[in-house]
Symmetry: C2
Subunit: 135 residues, 2 copies
């Protein structure tokens, strides 16, 4: 079960969004799998010293993404069907990338430059994203 024990106590941006990213990263990396239970709002809130509603907001956001299932009264759990995950990834990837590719081509960049820059930014993003992506 995801324990949040290594969730960074401090970081950029609102707590609830950092929680969302934390769980998303866990799912994306395969560390959290379909059906895994999540600790209750109150447990996480006590661990992090924030209000239960802050955790609730994170869980709710994840639920709207289809990544979490909650039943009133019972524990929440992660929902990751392989098909849904693959479909989601593909959709997001293509949408994002197509717009970007067109913008870069319009600005006169050439293919090699673009690939080089892309790779560099990717690595920079990994550095910024410390804590959540473990490998």
């Amino acid at each position: 079960m995801l324990t949040f024990s290594d969730f960074p106590r401090e970081g950029e941006g609102p707590v609830y969004l950092r929680l969302v990213r934390y769980v998303r990263a866990g799912v994306a990396s395969g560390a959290v799998r379909d059906g895994d239970e999540l600790p209750s709002r109150r447990v996480v809130s006590a661990l992090l010293g924030v209000n239960p509603n802050t955790v609730q907001r994170a869980y709710r956001t994840l639920e709207e993404e289809g990544l979490v299932v909650s039943r009133s009264g019972a524990k929440s759990c992660v929902s990751v069907t392989p098909e849904a995950l693959a479909a989601l990834r593909l959709r997001l990837q293509r949408e994002e990338l197509e717009k970007t590719v067109l913008a870069l081509r319009r600005s006169g960049m050439d293919r090699d430059e673009a690939l080089e820059l892309f790779g560099r930014l990717w690595d920079e993003a990994r550095e910024v994203e410390e804590g959540v992506t473990e490998e």
Copy 2:
């Protein structure tokens, strides 16, 4: 001189940032050149129906980027050294790409997958590209 006459009255995000992007785009595209005068804060504010300070904030932001020069009491003008122009273009490209990279990382894609997809979409865009991409 940049007149702001075709500045869209409605759009996403704060007015001052839309103004900043508007000027940046003009510079990046070459439509606005080094030394070109900018209309005064009050003129633009009257045209758009916002407070002069909102325009001031935009101009100030542009000045911090080194794209505008202001002398207290005199009209402001655009400052575009070749280096600044190159830097601006690179920056716009980076911003575009950064958003995409973050989205892809969030979706759990790994580096090689991402580069591969990027290259493929780039080539697809070239094949499609016979009309002008404009907007």
